[in-house]
Structure formats: structure tokens, C-alpha cells
């Protein structure tokens, strides 16, 4: 069985690293604690296997229902939560040395049962980044995404060098950044040999217009993105909320982050044309 979940893992540590001057990767690196790697508990499917194993051969597979959008909330404010438009509209790759784009992958088991976007590893310590567009609405919103590494062990699958940052615009005319942190309430998952970690910024409030999630892997070791979500804030029902690390409030953009946005925008040109063949 390839599906394993880890229900609890230790305290997640936020490490704020100094930003590299040589690349475009912003500051806040996500750090996960590998000490919990073996503290997994089997999931329900594995339990079923064991149940069947105790009485004989289990069925090879079971029939289930898979909704059209998997587990994705239908009110997800990401413009392109399925990575179908890596064109600058939904997502855009930012990479100095890339000759090929990121790769969309479809795998049997993924967070939210949705397609993945893979930012391949790069040589020369370069950064490989992607940004995705979100339509803000001033209400309190939880923004999250699953980030994964394919690795032989949890130790190798740490998100070292990975950062995820929201760029927000507010009604008062200011731009601010908010770092996504590893989600202590959501278990790490291992799906198809990819170690997945959910990062989240909860209760993002007051931003308007278009916001952007910027995910950066530096040095690029090969990073998977899945299940981006931006949905109305949900209060935790489990009482775990108090134990979560609270993200810091949005902060002004650094000069480096401003440069990143400029680079991103230079790859886009506002389109003022009929997107379909002309009427004749």
C-alpha cells in the first residue's frame, strides 16, 4: 500500500534564512522536522488490508467514487487550481536557466486527488519558482498548498530551501507579503513516494484584487506542488488551532521580492484582444 499518513509530527520550526543575493528566491524557508518520520500510523486502507490479510487474500482494489474535482473545494479562489494554464494566466514559471517548462503530472494518489505541478531540479544552485494567481475578496481567507519531494526517506525529503510567500494588495494602497508556514494540524503524507507537507497562511484578511502565491525551490532539488487552496477561513473544530504556529502579520515587501514581481510581470503582457478566432 503506497498511501501512508502521519497523523502527528513534531513541532515545526520556522527558520528565517537570509536571502541569497545571487538568485531570485525570497526569504522564508520552510523547515520540517524529520524526527517524526517513523511515527506514522497506518491509514484506513492499510487497516483494511490487515483485516483481509487476517482471513485470506484481500481484493486487489476496491471501487470508489472520485468526484470530478477530487477533494478540491469548489469555492477555491485560486484561478487555476488544477495547473491547466501554465501560461501566465493561472501559473507562471520563474527560472533563470530553464529551457523547458514545469511539468504537470497525474498520479493515482495526490493531495486533493488533483494534478501536480513539478518544478524539476536544476544544477548550479539556481532557483526554480512558480507563482499562481488568487482572486482576493477582503474576507478572512485560508491559503494553503501541498509541497512535496520525491525521496527514499523523510530525512531526504525535507523542504530545505523551499519558501512559499503570498503577495497581497490592500485597500489602503499598500502591498505586503505573508509567509506560508508548515501546517502543524495537517499530517504529512507520503503518496507515490512523494513526501508531502502542507503549508498554510490562515486568516489572510483585507487583501483585494489579485494576489499571488510564490513558491520557490532554491537550490532547485525538484519540488512538487499540489492542491493549492484559497477558501474562506474555517475555524478549527478540533481545538488544535491554539497549538498551531501563528503566522506573522503581513509585512512590507523586501526589495528582492519587488524585483521578483517585476520579473514575473515582464513575462506577461496584458491581453486586449478577442481570445477566440475572429468572427468571420
Amino acid at each position: 500500500m503506497t498511501i501512508r499518513s502521519i497523523r502527528h509530527f513534531g513541532l515545526l520550526v520556522l527558520v528565517l534564512l537570509a536571502t541569497s543575493m545571487s538568485t531570485g528566491c525570497p526569504s522564508n524557508e520552510i523547515t520540517t522536522d524529520a524526527s517524526s518520520a517513523d511515527a506514522s500510523i497506518v491509514d484506513a486502507a492499510t487497516q483494511n488490508d490487515q483485516l483481509f490479510d487476517s482471513i485470506g487474500e484481500a481484493p486487489l482494489r476496491r471501487l470508489i467514487e472520485r468526484p470530478f474535482f477530487g477533494q478540491m473545494p469548489l469555492n477555491n479562489r485560486f484561478f487555476d487550481p488544477q495547473f491547466s494554464m501554465v501560461t501566465g494566466a493561472g501559473w507562471l514559471q520563474i527560472c533563470e536557466t530553464c529551457t523547458e517548462g514545469p511539468i504537470r503530472l497525474f498520479l493515482p494518489h495526490t493531495p486533493d486527488e488533483q494534478p501536480l505541478l513539478y518544478l524539476p531540479a536544476l544544477s548550479e544552485e539556481k532557483a526554480h519558482c512558480a507563482w499562481g494567481a488568487i482572486k482576493s475578496n477582503a474576507e478572512s481567507t485560508d491559503v494553503s498548498i501541498w509541497l512535496g519531494r520525491r525521496a527514499a526517506s523523510a530525512q531526504e525529503a525535507q523542504l530545505s530551501g523551499v519558501s512559499a510567500t503570498l503577495y497581497l494588495y490592500f485597500q489602503d494602497g499598500t502591498q505586503r507579503a505573508q509567509t506560508l508556514l508548515a501546517d502543524s494540524a495537517e499530517p504529512r503524507q507520503v503518496l507515490e513516494d512523494i513526501y508531502w507537507y502542507r503549508v498554510v497562511a490562515e486568516e489572510v484578511t483585507g487583501s483585494i484584487g489579485w494576489s499571488y502565491l510564490y513558491v520557490c525551490d532554491q537550490p532547485a532539488q525538484g519540488l512538487y506542488l499540489a492542491a493549492p487552496r484559497a477558501v474562506a477561513h474555517q475555524e478549527s473544530k478540533s481545538g488544535e488551532e491554539d497549538q498551531r504556529l501563528r503566522p506573522p502579520p503581513p509585512r512590507p515587501l523586501t526589495a528582492l521580492e519587488r524585483n521578483l514581481l517585476k520579473r514575473m510581470e515582464k513575462r506577461k503582457q496584458p491581453v486586449l484582444r478577442s481570445p477566440q478566432p475572429d468572427p468571420s
Partner: protein
């Protein structure tokens, strides 16, 4: 089959556990899945392909495979494409496809005509994605000529180890009661999409394909009775459209319709969310409730003929000139090589406004018979504008509804071809000494029954080749300059005649050569300018700025583009957004706010300008709006308003893997004023009206005269000293 008490216990436990963990599969077709073994069982009485090996293909069928460069792969490689797996979903193996094996066919499906002819069927197949995802469908190619592909979609049935079931939905096996599908087609979706995006691809990515089935659903449901567009609901029923005069499945014309209720509802819910969240036009947003109500009718109506046309209708009601519905599949395009545009039939009694023949130069029965100036008097016995309303599924219009008649006119003949309708043209022959219009008795009527001219040979397997020739129609009766390239979007050219420079453009594309041409053509400024943008397809802000910076002054031709910032966004917030942009110079740092301030030489701001409009969208909408604000003599001549598409556009996400993505305008625009006064209002949804409504006259057409150009030149001469 349960063979032992142990198996019975396992089954009971499985049912209990699975009831707890998963919701039920969406329909009763689970009977083909053995819950005890976890294996799929093809119906022994049905038709199936197991993909166990290359040899497992039924007699009369063959494979073809292609690499991403469309090079056919050698047959010697084929055995390796089949993965042996005794514990696979079905049988002993599966086809391992995708990545470097980009495209594949199973040829010879038409060998099943004797078995499934006259039947309603459903095609099903299973897929387990191991990186790649294959789009799988069935193609109909009457007499070897491509007609359509019906692509399969997820049914919602899946297995917990990653297999998904895909289905065509119900469809009559024989297209139009005549033609069996010729082949199954597979292609790697993301390699296909790579062409239009920055996506890379992994050549080693694969997907497993297994258990192809054709399920007999009973007798075919579509009648083989002649139909027209007006009779199709009655004759073809809730599943059919009238195509070339015969009933065919609606899903073969516009694409697969989700059969499962939950999948259909989820798709509609997300589509509504996309529209209500990302639509930026303020006027379009006032129609969101109406659109939601309309789309909700589809939750209960599973008829294929209603599904995509209702979505088309809903998106059309936005009045967003950038909005197009998603299109999951597309019937092969056929053309009537004749250009018609709205004109004034002043040689007919009562001088009606009708589509006139602007050109008919290519082959075919219409082109060889029709002459410039002939008027389209009726379609299926209705006035063209009334028929167009009933043909909404064939004649999609968006933007300002006041402009719809002009925009729809050139689409009518091809819509009539597709539905097999009857066109009647009215001709008034005039000799040099004839005076005035024709009397009713003098009018000649020319009738073209498209079901006979095209439908009959098509359904006989002899589609006429004239319908493969597309004539580019550009809303102009005559062109100055009359260059062979004059209909290209990137074209810019001019001719000088006396003191008037006529500059012809087809958009504001903004590419380097176009920008250079505009600079060269407008600086130094001519004495007077006739700007012919009758085929105004838009472009980008750079093109728009380049043109307007010569013709207008910054104070009366700057725009500000804004996404929907929410209901609380006000004048103060606009001033703050301006301050943000002034500080940062980047749209993405200011929530999407983008001012377009013209700071060019304004070299031609003082000269008289006549603007010729007809079909003008987006960048050319902006040009028109700015020209209205000029202080120098300016006059717009047009058959109607512009589209009213003022804003940045974007494709919609490809939720349904369509051949054409939907699109939407993700912002709106206002004219910029110094104090941030928004009282002028948001522009989207209301086109720029002409100062003078001018239609091509039938009488001028017979003389080879472009009425609009003539009128504009006359006005310009009046402005010159």
C-alpha cells in the same frame, strides 16, 4: 461468484468497511466490477479490448502510434507498449501509453458496423495515470474525411489504486444513421497543451489504458428524418441537433455532456464560481444572478442538446465581449466561401437592413451564383435576424447586444450550412439607365437549400470540396490599400489620396514591426486621416498606446484598468491604487490595477480623423473610446457600436479538457481623470456608438463603391481648409 464461506465473509467485511470509508459508486454499473477479487469483468456479450497484448486486438483492427513530433512509430516497437500484469484491472495487461508515445489509434472500428449499426451505444475505458494523462475518444471520418471526435470523460467511478473510468456517454453508433466510427484515438493531453503554454513534459511519463468496451444500450434513438434548425427540437429530440439536414447526437457536435449527476453539478458549480469570482466587468457582474439561475436549470436537465447551448447562452448574457464558453469538442469546420455583412438593401422595396454579399470569389454553388450586393432575404423562411436568434447555438454573440446584428451577419451562411437550412437571396439587377429600386416584381430570388447542396452529398460520403475553402471576411466592402496581406491581424498599411491618408489596421497587435509602421505612418502627421479598423480584433496595451499616443492628447485618452476589487472599492481607494502604481510601476504589486497613460508625441492630435468601425473589440474598443474624446474634428462611421470589451482578458481554466478554453474578462476599465472621478463609469458591456450609422448600400455595391469609405472621405474633405 462466491465459491467458499471465506469468500462470503470477505465480501461482507468488504461491504461493511467500504460503506464506512467511501460513498457509493455513482451508478449501478458496478456490476462489472468484482468486489471479491477487485477485478473488472468485461461483459462477455459485449465488445471489449483487453489490451493484454498486441495480439489481443480483435480481427480487422490495427494500432498506429506516433511520437511527439508526429512521426509514426515502427510496428516492431508495439509489443513493448503492452504491460503484462496478471493482477491488473482487467485481463492480463494494459496499454502503457503517453510521453514519448504521444498519439495512438486503433483503426478499424468501422468493422463493427454490422454489429452496432442501428444501436445506441456507450464507449467506456479505464485509465490509471502514472504521470501522463491520455485523452481518449472515438472519431467519425465519413469516407475518410474527418468529421468529429467524441472524447471520453470521467464517470466518477474509480478504484482505490488509481484507475478511473472514462465514458463517451450514450451515442448512436452510426453518425446520421450512415457512418460508423472509424477509430479510437489516444493522445497525451499535456504534450498537446504544451504547444500553447510554458509546460514542459516528461517523455517517460505514462498512463495505463485498459478495458475498452462498447456497450449496447438498445436501439438508436435519433430518427433518420429530414430536419431543419427550426424543427430540430421536435424532430431530433432532447439528445440531437440537426446537422447538414439530419439528426445527429448533440455530443458529437459540441462535445461530451456529463452524465453523472454529481459530476455535472460539480462542473456547473465550479463554472458559476469561476464566472462570479473572476469576471471583472461591472455591468456583466449585474447579470450574475440571472446567469446562475439559467445554469441551475442544467442540474435537472441531462439532455445533451440543452447542456452546452445553455452554457453558451449564459456566458453570452454577460455582455462581456471577451467571454467565450468552453468548448469540449468541435465538429470539423466547413465553410461557405462567401462574405456577407450587414448592409442596406436600398434596391429592394422598403430598403431593408439585410446581410449583403460583399464578396464571392471562391468555388462552390453559392460563390458561383451570387454577386456583390445580393441580399440575404430569409433563412428557413425567417428574416435573418429572427433566424439568428433561434440559431444561438450556431451563432454565438457576446458583448454589447446592440452590436450583435452586425457581428452575427457574417456567421449566418455557415450556420445555415451546418444546420442544412434554406437560404434565399434577393437580387435587383440594374442597368445604367435604371432609376430607383426594383419593384417587387423585378426582384429575383435565388434559393440555396444547404441540406441538398451540402448535406445530401455529405451523407452519401461525397462531401463537396468547396466547403473546405475558407474565405477571409473582414467587414470591408473594399480595402485601401488592397494588399494581399490586408486581412492579417498584424497588417498596417496606408494609401494617400489627395490630402487624406487612409490607414488600414486589423487590431492593435503591438508587435515590433507593427509599432514601427504606426510610428512611420503617423509621424509626421498627414493632413487628414481615415483610420479603417473595421476588422478590429484588438491586441495589447502597447499597440493601443502606440496608435493613440499619436492621435490624442494624454489628458483625454488615458484609461485605468481594474479587476473587481469588491463592493467597497471607491474613489478614495482608486486614488490609493494610483499612488501604489506611481510608486511601484507594476500592476502585480497593486492588485491588478493598471493605468494606461498615453505619453506619446501626439503628432496627429490636431488633424481631422474619420474612424471606420464595424467589428471592433478590446484594443479597438479602447481606440474608439479615446477617439470620441479628441478635441480635433473626429467622426466615427459604423453600422453599429463596438463590442464594449474594455479590459484585460484571460482564458478560463481547462476544467473539462476542452479543445477550446472558455475565456473571460478579468477586469474593467474607466477613463482616467485627474481627481479619480469614477462617475464616468466603467466601460465594459456598452460599445462605442458611431457618430453616424453607415451601412454598405446595395446600390453602391453594384457600382463597386464602398459606402462607408465614400462617406468618411466626404466628411474629411469638408474638414479640410
Amino acid at each position: 461468484m462466491i465459491r467458499s464461506p471465506t469468500q462470503l465473509v470477505r465480501l461482507v467485511i468488504f461491504l461493511l468497511v467500504s460503506t464506512n470509508l467511501y460513498t457509493s459508486p455513482p451508478d449501478s454499473r458496478a456490476a462489472t466490477f468484482d468486489p471479491v477479487t477487485g477485478r473488472l469483468l468485461l461483459d462477455p456479450n459485449g465488445f471489449g479490448i483487453s489490451f493484454d497484448s498486441l495480439e489481443a486486438l480483435p480481427n480487422g483492427m490495427t494500432y498506429q502510434f506516433f511520437d511527439p513530433k508526429h512521426v509514426q512509430l515502427p510496428a516492431a516497437d508495439f509489443p513493448a507498449f503492452f504491460q503484462s500484469d496478471p493482477l491488473g484491472l482487467e485481463g492480463g495487461g494494459a496499454l502503457r501509453f503517453g510521453g514519448a508515445i504521444y498519439k495512438g489509434y486503433i483503426l478499424g472500428l468501422d468493422s463493427l458496423a454490422s454489429r452496432f449499426g442501428g444501436k445506441r451505444v456507450e464507449f467506456r475505458v479505464w485509465q490509471k495515470m502514472l504521470g501522463a494523462q491520455a485523452t481518449i475518444g472515438v472519431q467519425w471520418r465519413p469516407a475518410g474525411n474527418y468529421a468529429t471526435t467524441l472524447r471520453f470523460r470521467r464517470t466518477g467511478r474509480a478504484t482505490d489504486d488509481g484507475w478511473h473510468e472514462f465514458s463517451s456517454g450514450p451515442v448512436d453508433f452510426l453518425l446520421g444513421g450512415e457512418f460508423a466510427p472509424s477509430q479510437v484515438v489516444f493522445f497525451d493531453l499535456d504534450i498537446y497543451q504544451k504547444r500553447s503554454s510554458y509546460l514542459g513534459f516528461e517523455s517517460s511519463s505514462r498512463t495505463l489504458i485498459d478495458a475498452f468496451e462498447i456497450i449496447d444500450l438498445g436501439a438508436a434513438v435519433l430518427p433518420q428524418t429530414p430536419c431543419t434548425l427550426l424543427s430540430e427540437k421536435e424532430v431530433c429530440g432532447p439528445e440531437g441537433f440537426c446537422q447538414y439536414g439530419r439528426c445527429v447526437d448533440a455530443s458529437l457536435v459540441l462535445g461530451h455532456v456529463p452524465q453523472d449527476e454529481k459530476i455535472r453539478n460539480d462542473y456547473l458549480t465550479r463554472l458559476k464560481f469561476d464566472i462570479s469570482t473572476f469576471e471583472g466587468g461591472r455591468l456583466p457582474r449585474t447579470f450574475l444572478d440571472e446567469i446562475e439561475t439559467l445554469l441551475d436549470t442544467l442540474k435537472q436537465n441531462s439532455g445533451a442538446a440543452a447542456f452546452w447551448p445553455t452554457i453558451h447562452d449564459a456566458i453570452s448574457r454577460l455582455r462581456d465581449g471577451h467571454a467565450f464558453p468552453p468548448q469540449p469538442d468541435r465538429w470539423s469546420a466547413k465553410y461557405v466561401p462567401v462574405c456577407l455583412h450587414l448592409g442596406m438593401a436600398d434596391l429592394l422595396p422598403q430598403s431593408p437592413t439585410l446581410p449583403l454579399v460583399f464578396s464571392a470569389i471562391a468555388p462552390g454553388p453559392l460563390a458561383s451564383t451570387l454577386q456583390e450586393g445580393d441580399a440575404l432575404a430569409s433563412i428557413d423562411g425567417l428574416p435573418p435576424k429572427d433566424w439568428a436568434k433561434k440559431a444561438a447555438r450556431l451563432v454565438y454573440v457576446n458583448g454589447d447586444p446592440e452590436a450583435a446584428t452586425v457581428f452575427a451577419a457574417p456567421k449566418l451562411v455557415e450556420a445555415a450550412l451546418r444546420s442544412g437550412s434554406t437560404l434565399v437571396f434577393a437580387r435587383c439587377e440594374r442597368k445604367p439607365d435604371d432609376i430607383g429600386p426594383c419593384t417587387a416584381a423585378e426582384v429575383q430570388y435565388l434559393t440555396f437549400d444547404m441540406a441538398t447542396l451540402f448535406g445530401t452529398p455529405f451523407w452519401a460520403g461525397e462531401a463537396p470540396p468547396w466547403a473546405d475553402t475558407r474565405q477571409v471576411c473582414d467587414f470591408r466592402f473594399r480595402r485601401k490599400p488592397d494588399s494581399p496581406d490586408a486581412t492579417l491581424k498584424t497588417f498596417a498599411g496606408y494609401v494617400d489620396q489627395e490630402s487624406i491618408r487612409t490607414l488600414l489596421i486589423n487590431g492593435t497587435p503591438g508587435d515590433a514591426q507593427w509599432l514601427k509602421d504606426i510610428e512611420q505612418f503617423l509621424s509626421p502627421a498627414p493632413e487628414a486621416l481615415l483610420l479603417d479598423q473595421r476588422h478590429g480584433l484588438g491586441g495589447n496595451t502597447a499597440g493601443m498606446e502606440a496608435l493613440l499616443s499619436h492621435l490624442t492628447s494624454p489628458e483625454n485618452s488615458s484609461f485605468e484598468m481594474l479587476p473587481f476589487f469588491g463592493d467597497l472599492f471607491d474613489q478614495a481607494a482608486l486614488l490609493l491604487a494610483r499612488a501604489c502604481y506611481a510608486l511601484t510601476k507594476y500592476q502585480s504589486m497593486c492588485g491588478g490595477f493598471l493605468p494606461v497613460k498615453l505619453e506619446g508625441p501626439a503628432s496627429a492630435k490636431g488633424i481631422p480623423v474619420a474612424l471606420l468601425n464595424s467589428y471592433d473589440v478590446s484594443g479597438n474598443d479602447f481606440v474608439s473610446a479615446a477617439m470620441v474624446q479628441r478635441s480635433a474634428p473626429t467622426r466615427i462611421f459604423s453600422p453599429g457600436p463596438t463590442m464594449g470589451a474594455f479590459g484585460i482578458t484571460s482564458s478560463l481554466p481547462r476544467h473539462y479538457q476542452g479543445v477550446a478554453l472558455g475565456s473571460i474578462q478579468i477586469g474593467d476599465a474607466i477613463m482616467a481623470t485627474e481627481d479619480g472621478d469614477t462617475s464616468l463609469g466603467y466601460l465594459t458591456g456598452k460599445g462605442v456608438a458611431p457618430h453616424e450609422v453607415v451601412l454598405q448600400k446595395q446600390s453602391d455595391a453594384l457600382l463597386g463603391i464602398d459606402t462607408m469609405t465614400l462617406r468618411a472621405e466626404t466628411w474629411l474633405k469638408e474638414q479640410l481648409p
